[in-house]
């Protein structure tokens, strides 16, 4: 071989090697698994076809051995039992409130342990990073970040009865005023409240409304209760409005037994004018063939206060006993799945945006041209795009009750208490005092 030929060959081989390594080292981290052991990935039941395809791509392109399955039923409780029992579980979905609890129990490896943590940190929106950080540790990587309680409006029914944009509410007090005005104009079911039967139903409905009205429920730092019983306070006003609404007979009892699908279907049926919903479900409501109000669903722009609260899901790493090599593989998979793939793209999050308009915690996903195009395709009017971004960027997080170990114990209490309050015509002050007492009891239980 001539020297020139040798040089050319060596150069080509070098380039080929570098491109190969470059693919797996796109984040400065080698993402190829090495242990040969299985990584167990468990999640709740949402678009399992998409997740399965993502996992298959990882297994195929990275020679991975990821085992994916869903956990059906009462997810937080079942996942907690799995973790407690030391089940084979390496990466799983969790809401931040559950993740805090798991972290305190020592069942979670924080995302700070990932080798590319600095890069992840720089990509996250600050409000989401704060929501997902507990005791100085990032609990997991962004699965989705949404606004639960975005006030959506069925423009068709709204405008048919002579209402215009000028009538749209700017705060929760105006929401209730408008409900009764709509009722007076002959709309049978003007409002679908966030009172459905899921663990994130009525309890979150109360939390989001109180937080929007300026309440905190518990102090974000000390977690001591901050619920007041004065009639002008956010807590009293919320329950007073609920009681009046329930007693008006406008809300069917079946709302209390809806699951999430039932709640979405109910609004998509076109029977209601307004409802606090998940921000990304605007896409569902505007999808022809899926919704009776396709092309007519807008959101109420942010007025005096933000609408809703941050509802997010994380990819969390478990801290179970396993070999060091397998733990490294888990980190690699979490990094690939929850952040950037071997090509340096935030592919999974971008794919969720395309598939279901799931919002992400990563700036480069949310600020990409693809995302803008996707959101614009899902909305009824061009001006809704800016409104969506404004609502999303200003969504608060109830840190006082969600970034604390007892969050998942307070939530079922709240669900039961609020349902009983409405059904049994409960006393507002007594109900609020029972919430304070519960928080104090939980703080006592955990020595907070």
């Amino acid at each position: 071989m001539k020297r020139r030929e040798f040089g050319l060959l060596a150069g080509t081989a070098g380039l080929a090697l570098m491109s190969g390594a470059g693919r797996t080292l796109a984040q400065g981290v080698d993402l190829k698994p090495t242990s040969g052991e299985t990584v167990y990935f468990r999640g709740w039941n949402f678009r399992t076809d998409v997740v399965q395809a993502n996992v298959a791509r990882y297994n195929q392109q990275m020679d991975g051995k990821v085992d994916y399955a869903t956990v059906t039923g009462d997810y937080p409780a079942l996942m907690e039992q799995n973790l407690m029992a030391g089940a084979q579980l390496d990466m799983f979905y969790a809401n931040p409130s559950s993740a805090c609890r798991y972290f305190d129990a020592g069942w979670v490896l924080p995302a700070n342990e990932l080798p590319n943590y600095a890069e992840i940190d720089a990509e996250l929106y600050p409000n989401l990073k704060e929501a997902w950080t507990y005791k100085g540790q990032l609990l997991g990587l962004s699965y989705f970040a949404s606004t639960r309680g975005t006030m959506v409006v069925n423009r068709k029914l709204f405008e048919e009865h002579g209402f215009t944009d000028a009538d749209l509410p700017k705060n929760w007090d105006e929401v209730y005023d408008l409900i009764y005005r709509m009722k007076d104009k002959g709309i049978e079911t003007p409002f679908l409240p966030h009172w459905f039967g899921e663990w994130f139903g009525i309890s979150w409905g109360f939390v989001l409304e109180v937080i929007n009205r300026g309440g905190t429920i518990a102090d974000p730092e000390t977690h001591q209760p901050t619920i007041t019983t004065d009639e002008d306070g956010p807590y009293y006003k919320t329950l007073a409005a609920w009681k009046k609404l329930w007693q008006s007979g406008m809300i069917a009892q079946e709302v209390f037994t809806f699951n999430e699908g039932g709640y979405i279907d109910a609004f998509a049926s076109g029977r209601y004018v307004m409802s606090p919903q998940q921000i990304y479900d605007i896409e569902t409501f505007n999808r022809p063939g899926r919704s009776q109000i396709a092309g007519s669903c807008s959101l109420v722009p942010m007025g005096d206060h933000p609408w809703g609260i941050i509802d997010s899901g994380l990819y969390v790493m478990s801290n179970r006993e396993r070999s060091e090599a397998l733990t490294d593989d888990v980190k690699k998979f979490v990094s690939w799945y929850g952040f950037k793939d071997q090509d340096g793209k935030i592919a999974i999050a971008q794919n969720w945006m395309q598939e279901n308009m799931l919002f992400s915690g990563y700036k480069s996903v949310m600020e990409s041209a693809e995302t803008a195009e996707r959101i614009k395709k899902a909305i009824a009017r061009p001006e809704d795009y800016e409104a969506i971004l404004k609502v999303y960027q200003n969504t608060p997080f109830p840190k006082g009750i969600w970034s604390v170990v007892w969050s998942e114990e307070f939530n079922p209490f709240l669900k039961e208490t609020l349902s009983s309050f409405l059904f049994d015509d409960g006393d507002i002050v007594e109900t609020l005092e029972s919430m304070t007492a519960k928080i104090e009891e939980l703080n006592g239980k955990y020595g907070i």
Partner: protein, 310 residues
């Protein structure tokens, strides 16, 4: 030897000694029962013992596992818990309705299958199918059937020009809906046992009833029903136990709601143990459920079983 009242010879003499080296009946019975005893010890005694241990402790998982001995505190605290008292009444309502419905439905199905009908085999297979359905699946199915949004009554109402959905998942009816679903699940088994029992009733009794010109109801009341008493008692006891223990269907169908309208004891035990992670308190509640089950079956035996099992 003595002669019993039925004219049967009863052995009264002392049994002859077993030849040396031969195992006694008691020892043999113990030996063949030993594997079962060991199995029971593993699958029943250990969890039961552990449940007793938990019920006497406050178990904390967070901030390091701790089990603090609290004595009978959990058992006492339960009685000042409104949700527990509420759950007792809901469980009672659900159980009574379930058992009555199951017995009536089982009896009707058995009577139907006891008739000479065409394609009897197919009918029996179809009638047995609900028993093969898991309570989880039944919960999903009934949930869809009775909800205002998707329910069959809403469909019928709309078909006849109605504009409102018909929702049976409201507070007033949710327990009854659960009881119907439960009876739908359990009645086929009851029906088949009753049918087997009906087949043993001598045909000549029906001929005599015909000669005496008994009506269909009188024939059922005086000829068919008396020999079924013992089977009915046994299944009333079994369905009582199964209904009091029912959990998955309730969780799937109503999640204890609306509000706490269908939160039975099993649901409350689940909630306390696995949502509140208060395992000691949940274990104490589960012992009360055990006592209630034992109490209910004993009561059925006292008022009914003692009479019919003689």
């Amino acid at each position: 030897m003595a002669v019993g009242s039925a004219g049967q010879a009863i052995q009264t003499s002392t049994p002859s000694r077993k030849p040396r080296g031969e195992m006694s009946d008691t020892r043999f019975a113990f030996l063949i029962g030993l594997p079962v005893l060991v199995f029971l010890l593993l699958v029943v005694a250990y969890p039961l013992g552990y449940a007793i241990y938990m019920s006497l402790h406050q178990i904390v998982f967070f901030g390091g596992y701790r089990a603090n001995f609290v004595g009978l505190k959990n058992f006492i605290d339960v009685w000042s818990d409104k949700s527990f008292i509420n759950a007792i009444w809901i469980t009672l309502r659900f159980t009574v309705e379930s058992v009555v419905l199951t017995m009536i439905l089982g009896l009707c199905l058995a009577s139907l299958m006891n008739q000479r009908i065409r394609m009897a085999g197919l009918v029996r297979t179809l009638l047995f199918l609900p028993w093969c359905v898991s309570s989880y699946a039944a919960g999903l199915m009934f949930g869809q059937l009775v909800r205002g949004q998707t329910g069959i009554l809403t469909t019928i109402s709309f078909a006849f020009g109605g504009t409102q959905g018909v929702d049976l998942m409201g507070r007033a009816t949710v327990v009854e809906v659960l009881a119907v679903a439960n009876a739908w699940l359990m009645s086929p088994l009851v029906a088949f046992f009753l049918l087997a029992n009906m087949k043993t009733i001598p045909k000549r009794l029906y001929d005599l009833a015909a000669i005496d010109r008994l009506t269909a109801w009188e024939t059922f009341r005086y000829v068919t029903l008396p020999p079924l008493q013992f089977t009915l008692f046994v299944f009333a006891s079994i369905t009582t136990v199964l209904s009091m223990k029912m959990f998955d269907m309730i969780l799937i169908m109503t999640g204890g709601g609306p509000g706490t309208a269908s939160a039975t004891l099993t649901y409350q035990i689940y909630k306390r143990s696995f949502k509140d992670l208060n395992l000691g308190y949940g274990a104490a509640m589960s012992f009360y459920l055990l006592f209630f089950i034992l109490g209910a079956t004993f009561l059925i035996y006292l008022v009914w079983g003692r009479r019919v099992s003689r």
